[in-house]
Each structure stands twice: as structure tokens, then as C-alpha cells.
């Protein structure tokens, strides 16, 4: 058995090769018409993005037991700042390079843009997390909600970024998209999973279970809360960078409170603290939302509705009903992994809630 860094490297390489293979397969399917480009986008790409968002919020809301309603804010920061880098700087640099280099450099710049998105959001997470995480429950929820709104309003007023008309004509460097979207989602899941199985992971869980007890065991609870916030924010920022580099245009309204609440609904439904739950609920709710588009119109109160108009109603109901009937969410704290189907040995760290 290979151990340590070589093993990690092997995993990374295998993942990259697998995802690239899948990417080409899907590309083949869409180009010969077996899979509509629209269906591919709404049932594969966007759910992948929301898996990243839900898993990263799960780190804050589920695993560390805080309550953030401002995830869309980090998503926005990542999207806008990375797009700003690519549009205003990197694409100029790229244009000045010999054509043979451009293909490689585009990937390098995309990676840098993703990093910028992640780092900017992480810094914002630190900036907002360090003071507000002293707050509890309701206060934290409103403070983070406020933060999310401030970010949106700032981008709405920033003329450099197009203001309310949106930030458009961005370089679309992710191309077909699946490879990058999946890579980020898998990366986010892997980081969260490995974190949970480490000693740090136990510290995060202890903050959720009993802050006072955790502190008395010598755990710096504020530090772990801020760490969770930064890490969660960073992945949301990377997800934002992906969005702007795939869509080519972003709008402040795409990062409003509805988005934050939707991500919270995903985490709550999946089971706060369960990564698998966040993955399933993130993909499931997003696909459900898109599936509503295919239902026929209907009339109510003398007006005609698209079933899609009901989506926010669905999210609200998901929140309320989950809380009333199944507070632990679909999966509770359980995970679905290799050991569930009996492969591999049980890990020494067992999280129980």
C-alpha cells in the first residue's frame, strides 16, 4: 500500500484522469445530440456548482454548528473579483502572447483566477467572521444576512463591475465546463471529508456539540469557527469564479438572499453536518427546481403561473417541514462512503451527534 504524499498524488491524478474522461464523454454526447446542451447545463453543471456551495456551507452551518445566511456574499465576491482579474488583466496578457502558448496559459490563468476568487472570499470570510462569530444564533444569522446584502449592494453600485446591469463580456475559459465544475466539487468534498477525519475535524464538531465543554478542553473555539468560515467562504468563492468563467456574464441579483436561503435549505435538508447529505440535497433541490420548468402552466387566483414561480415556495416548505418532522435532515450526521458498502477499514474517528 502506498502511503502519504505519493498516495495523495495518485488519488489526484486518478481523479483528474477520470473527470477528464467523463468530460470528454459528456462532450461527445452533447455534440452528437444524445444529450441536449440545455439539459446538460441545468441537470449536471449547475447541480455540481450547488454541491460545492452546499458542502462548503455545511462546513460552517452543519459541522461547526454556526448559522450563516450570507453564503451568496462569498459566492459573489469570488465571481466578481476573479472575473475582474480575467477581464481586465489576464485576457490582455493572454492576447500579447504567441498563439502556441495561449492554450496552456489560458488554463494557468483560469487556475490563478480560481485561486483569486477563493482567496478573496477567504479574506472576506476572515474579515467578517472574526468579529461576528462571537455572536450566537439569531444575531449571527442577521449579521451574516446583512453582510451578504452589503456585498450585493456594493457590486450593484460598483460601475467598474457593470453595476445593476451586470458584469458582462467575461472570458469563458472553463470551456465545456464539466471538468472544472466537477474538479472543484470533488476537491471541496475531499477537503471536508479529510478534515472531518482529522483531529481538527473533531475540534470543529466539538464546537457544535458544546462550546463551553470544547473550550474547557483547551480548544480555541473562536479560532475553529473562523477557520470553518474561511474555508467555507473560500470554496464558495471558487464556485463563484467558476460561474463567472463559464457563464461569461454575472448579475448582482444572482447573488441575493434567495440564493443564500436556497443553500441553507440544501444543508438543512441534507442533514446538518452530513457531507453526503449536502451533496444529495444540493444536487437534488437544484434538479428539482430545474425540473419544475418542464411542468405545464396553471391558473390560480385568476392569474397564470409557471411552475417555476413556485420554487421559492418549495424551498420555504422544505425548511419548515424538515425542521418540524425531521430535524436531523435526511441523513442526520451519517455519511455514505466506502465503509457503508463494506469496503476499506472503519476509520478511527467516528463522528456521532
Amino acid at each position: 500500500m502506498i502511503k502519504g504524499y505519493p498516495r495523495l498524488l495518485l488519488f489526484v491524478l486518478v481523479t483528474i484522469v477520470l473527470l477528464w474522461g467523463l468530460d470528454r464523454l459528456l462532450f461527445g454526447l452533447t455534440s452528437n445530440g444524445a444529450l441536449g446542451l440545455y439539459q446538460y447545463r441545468v441537470f449536471i453543471l449547475i447541480p455540481l456548482l450547488y454541491i460545492t456551495l452546499a458542502v462548503s456551507l455545511n462546513l460552517i452551518n452543519g459541522i461547526t454548528g454556526q448559522f450563516s445566511l450570507g453564503h451568496a456574499g462569498f459566492f459573489a465576491i469570488g465571481a466578481y473579483l476573479s472575473a475582474g482579474f480575467s477581464k481586465f488583466y489576464a485576457s490582455q496578457w493572454l492576447a500579447g502572447m504567441p498563439p502556441s502558448m495561449q492554450g496552456v496559459m489560458q488554463i494557468v490563468f483560469l487556475l490563478i483566477a480560481l485561486l483569486i476568487g477563493g482567496i478573496a472570499a477567504a479574506l472576506a470570510g476572515l474579515l467578517i467572521g472574526a468579529p461576528t462569530l462571537r455572536l450566537k444564533g439569531d444575531y449571527l444569522a442577521i449579521a451574516t444576512l446583512g453582510f451578504g446584502e452589503i456585498i450585493r449592494i456594493m457590486f450593484e453600485n460598483a460601475n467598474t463591475f457593470g453595476g445593476p446591469r451586470g458584469f458582462t463580456d467575461l472570458p469563458q475559459w472553463t470551456g465545456f465546463g464539466f471538468f472544472w465544475y466537477a474538479l472543484v466539487a470533488v476537491g471541496c468534498i475531499a477537503v471536508c471529508r479529510n478534515l472531518l477525519q482529522s483531529a481538527h475535524g473533531l475540534a470543529f464538531l466539538s464546537v457544535r456539540e458544546d462550546e463551553v465543554a470544547a473550550e474547557s478542553m483547551g480548544i480555541n473555539t473562536t479560532r475553529y469557527k473562523v477557520m470553518a468560515f474561511i474555508l467555507g467562504a473560500a470554496f464558495a468563492g471558487i464556485a463563484g469564479s467558476l460561474l463567472s468563467h463559464y457563464e461569461g456574464s454575472i448579475y448582482p441579483n444572482g447573488f441575493n438572499l434567495d440564493v443564500s436561503i436556497m443553500i441553507v435549505a440544501m444543508v438543512v435538508l441534507g442533514g446538518q453536518g452530513s457531507i453526503t447529505g449536502a451533496v444529495l440535497a444540493g444536487a437534488g433541490l437544484k434538479m428539482l427546481e430545474e425540473a419544475l420548468r418542464f411542468l405545464p402552466e396553471f391558473s390560480l387566483f385568476g392569474r397564470t403561473f409557471q411552475p417555476l414561480d413556485l420554487r421559492y415556495l418549495v424551498f420555504a416548505l422544505v425548511l419548515i417541514l424538515t425542521m418540524i418532522f425531521r430535524q436531523q435532515g435526511l441523513l442526520g450526521h451519517r455519511e455514505f462512503g466506502w465503509k457503508t458498502i463494506g469496503i476499506g477499514k472503519r476509520s478511527k474517528v467516528e463522528a456521532n451527534g
Binding site: F67, D138, A316
Partner: protein, 280 residues
């Protein structure tokens, strides 16, 4: 008030306020009691009463269906439920009435704007009525909380729900009553703001006022009534200053949040509040 009794932010309070405003809209559209054709004070009072009754029922319904099942659970769960309820009501309103703003302005028989010569302030009749009614409601509320059996129950439950139950206070009923009372007041406020001040009614009608009320309360110090009044005034002034500044005007709605974060950072107990040491 609900916060004081339950120690839980009722996110849906703003939405009940919105519901009151929509009742006023329906009343004016449908010309109930002749509020549109022959407005007189008793017609308008009936309209506001309608809004109050409707919102009271709505409040009780919310409490029974959504909050009661989760009352024993952790605060986080109650919080998520409250956010869910608030969001649900917003979207129900969006479905029923659509996103376009509605108006429910009642033209009162008195001239709409009178100049108060002494002070030089301009105040419309509608605003004056709103102010006077608010004061009346505040006095009534004070009487209920201080001098009635129900008010005593409310205070007992707010101090210690379990002990109150042991002493024979029907805490379930008291909590429901508190919700009903709070919702009725919110409904009256919504209906009057819509009808007399002429604010637009739209599904997010209650959201910002709700958040701003919370920010005022935090600014002044939670549970401190003079503090809440001071906080509200300060927030209003700051917002007007920012809104009046041409370069900052786009940030008007962000102000409340900036203030909130600043207060929580530098003086978490609020301006007039004392900090309470958390006991373990």
C-alpha cells in the same frame, strides 16, 4: 415583544405586517364598508380592525403550525423554522398579488397636508393619525402587560417558561396569546402605513422594516424600550443622511446592516444596555 417572551426572533413578524397592508389593499379595492367611496373615521377603523383580526388569525396559525412543534428543540432549529415561515409568506404573497406594487391610499376628508405653523414641520393628516394611534396602542399594550392576568402570565413565561408552567400559568395559551397580540398590532401597523401614509405594498413590504426594527432594538440594547426608541431614531437619521448624499445614496439599504455590524463589534450590549455575563 414576541422576542421578549420567547427569546426568539420572529422573522415572520415583518410578513404579518405585510399581510395587514394587503388586507388594507383588498379593503380599498373591494370598497369594504365604503372606505373608498365615503371615507369616514368609523369605516377606516373597521378596515384596520379587519386587518388586525386577519393578522391575529395568521399569527395564531403560524404559532400553532410552525413554531409550537419546534419550541422544545434547540434555538437554531426554531430560527431556521422562523426564516422558513417568513420566506414562505413572502412567496405566498408574491403568488397571490404578484410583484408589482399596490396602493391602498384612503383619502381622508380632512385636507391631506396641513402645515403646523408653530413648528414649521409639515405633517400629513394620515401621518398624524398614525402617530396618535401608535401612542394609543402603546399605552394599551403597557396596560395589558402590566395590569392584566394575561400580562402577568406573559411576564412570568418570559422569565422562566418551566417555572411559570409549574405555577399554573398555561404557558401554551400565553404564548399563543402573545403571538396573537403581536400579530394584531403588526397588522394594524401594516394597514395604517399602507392606507394613511400611502406606502407601496409589495411582497417584501415587511422585510426591510423587520430587519430595521431588529437593528434599532440591537442598537438601543435588546429588551430596553427607551433604547429601542433611541435606536430607531438614530437609525432613521443616519439613513436619511446617507440617502441624501448623492454618492452614497445607492447604499441606503445597506446602512442598517453596517450599523448592526458596527454595534455588534464595538458595543454588543447596545447603547443603553448593560452587558450580561453569560452563565454556564
Amino acid at each position: 415583544m414576541v422576542y421578549g417572551v420567547l427569546r426568539m426572533i420572529n422573522f415572520a413578524h415583518g410578513e404579518v405586517y405585510m399581510a395587514g397592508a394587503y388586507v388594507a389593499y383588498l379593503a380599498v379595492e373591494g370598497d369594504w364598508f365604503g372606505v373608498r367611496t365615503q371615507p369616514a373615521w368609523w369605516n377606516v377603523t373597521l378596515m384596520v380592525l379587519c386587518a388586525m383580526v386577519f393578522c391575529m388569525l395568521l399569527g395564531v396559525l403560524i404559532e400553532r403550525l410552525a413554531y409550537k412543534p419546534v419550541r422544545k428543540a434547540s434555538r437554531l432549529i426554531a430560527l431556521i423554522t422562523a426564516i422558513g415561515v417568513s420566506y414562505l409568506l413572502q412567496n405566498v404573497a408574491l403568488l397571490i398579488f404578484g410583484a408589482s406594487p399596490k396602493y391602498a391610499i384612503v383619502e381622508l376628508s380632512a385636507p391631506a397636508t396641513q402645515e403646523a405653523a408653530v413648528t414649521g414641520f409639515r405633517i400629513s393628516t394620515g401621518q398624524a393619525i398614525l402617530l396618535i394611534t401608535t401612542i394609543i396602542f402603546m399605552v394599551l399594550l403597557r396596560i395589558i402587560v402590566q395590569y392584566t392576568r394575561f400580562g402577568r402570565g406573559m411576564r412570568a413565561v418570559s422569565q422562566d417558561m418551566q417555572a411559570a408552567s409549574l405555577m399554573g400559568v398555561p404557558s401554551d395559551r400565553v404564548i399563543m396569546g402573545t403571538f396573537a397580540l403581536g400579530a394584531a398590532l403588526a397588522g394594524a401597523g401594516g394597514a395604517m402605513t399602507a392606507a394613511f401614509v400611502g406606502n407601496q405594498i409589495f411582497p417584501l413590504f415587511g422585510f426591510m422594516p423587520g430587519v430595521k426594527a431588529f437593528v434599532s432594538a440591537v442598537l438601543g440594547g435588546i429588551g430596553n424600550i427607551p433604547g429601542a426608541v433611541l435606536g430607531g431614531l438614530l437609525l432613521g437619521v443616519i439613513e436619511a443622511l446617507v440617502g441624501g448624499n448623492p454618492t452614497l445614496t445607492g447604499y441606503r439599504d445597506a446602512v442598517a446592516f453596517f450599523v448592526l455590524i458596527a454595534v455588534l463589534l464595538f458595543r454588543p450590549a447596545g447603547l443603553l444596555g448593560k452587558s450580561v455575563q453569560e452563565k454556564v
